[in-house]
């Protein structure tokens, strides 16, 4: 038994305890509320301290190697260029024929 326990009262007056609690609750009635979003702050701290292992945002580069990200981006760009080329080539060819044929037919021939 600790020294503190020896001072413990035999019984507490329930009425005075309730009255005391009411006095304290009145004094501290104002309900404190945080000004900021605690969850967001907690997530941010965990993300930073785990170096992006937890709560990593979708675009965070911390989870994957930056080299891999650059490689994927480069391949994606190449693919987009290739697709664009194959889509636009028939249109360019058609336009080329259309513009070339009248000139070719009406070109003066020097005999």
């Amino acid at each position: 038994m600790s020294a503190e326990e020896h001072d413990a009262p035999e019984s507490e007056d329930l009425q005075s305890e309730t009255a005391f609690q009411r006095l304290l609750q009145d004094a501290m009635a104002e309900e404190p509320k945080p000004r900021l979003d605690l969850l967001r702050g907690v997530q941010h701290r965990i993300r930073e301290r785990s170096r992006g292992r937890f709560y990593a945002d979708r675009w965070s580069l911390k989870r994957v190697s930056p080299v891999l990200t650059y490689l994927v981006t480069a391949l994606l760009m190449l693919a987009i260029l290739g697709i664009s080329y194959f889509l636009l080539r028939p249109m360019l060819e058609a336009q080329g024929k259309h513009t070339a044929s009248p000139i070719g037919s009406s070109a003066p021939t020097h005999k």
């Binding site: 038994m1 600790s2 503190e4 326990e5 020896h6 001072d7 413990a8 009262p9 507490e12 005391f20 609690q21 006095l23 304290l24 609750q25 009145d26 004094a27 501290m28 104002e30 309900e31 404190p32 509320k33 945080p34 000004r35 900021l36 605690l38 969850l39 702050g41 907690v42 997530q43 701290r45 965990i46 301290r49 937890f54 709560y55």
Partner: protein, 206 residues
């Protein structure tokens, strides 16, 4: 009145604890939402400063996330979180005391500001006895100041018992003290608080 009545039925669900142990982010979000108000309130009442309380409250949940594997199911999850909140608050108080930063002023000053604004907003018709009204505000301010002037261990005991309305058993689990010591500490804290309030009221009267 306190929202705390033991713990929520869902948060001691073994499956929920298991999700937390697996570091399930959605489960952890739920946990933060479940406890943020209570944790913040406890920390704010311990520290009396909004910025410090926000910082410590966030730190509590980071500690919970980091240490969830150490949580033993023999105690309640809420009690364990309260223990972390209480310990971090006391550590912060020690740190602030070392920096000679009095952590009590803001709340007391805020309270005084609110009191004066309340008093200014009231008309005589709203109160039969304006002198009683002012007296009431003064008593509340004195009580508030007296709470923040208590030593951290006594303040913790008063807050957990009289404001958060926890049982002796729960307070024992949070503070790591026996039930007898908890009762004794609360008894001494109340006696000290009464003495200081009476002294302050006596000073006011004189």
């Amino acid at each position: 009145m306190s929202e705390y009545s033991g713990v929520d039925p869902s948060d001691d669900d073994p499956r929920f604890i298991q999700r937390l142990r697996r570091r399930d982010e959605h489960a952890f979000n739920e946990l933060v939402r479940m406890y943020e108000v209570r944790v913040y309130r406890l920390v704010y009442r311990m520290l009396g400063r909004q910025e410090e309380a926000e910082d410590v409250a966030q730190e509590v949940f980071v500690q919970v996330f980091r240490g969830i594997e150490q949580f033993r199911a023999d105690s309640k999850l809420g009690t364990w979180i309260y223990r972390i909140a209480s310990n971090l608050s006391k550590n912060r108080l020690k740190y602030l005391a070392r920096r000679r930063s009095n952590s009590q002023d803001e709340l007391t000053e805020e309270g005084a500001d609110n009191e004066s604004s309340h008093a200014q907003g009231l008309t005589l018709g709203e109160s039969a006895r304006p002198d009683q009204l002012v007296e009431g505000y003064q008593v509340e301010a004195i009580v508030r100041r007296a709470i923040f002037e208590l030593e951290p261990d006594f303040r913790e005991a008063i807050i957990l018992r009289d404001l958060e309305c926890l049982s002796y058993d729960e307070i024992g689990a949070i503070t790591g003290l026996t039930e007898g010591t908890v009762k004794s500490r609360i008894f001494r804290a109340r006696a000290l608080l009464k003495e200081r309030v009476e002294q302050a009221l006596g000073d006011k009267i004189r």
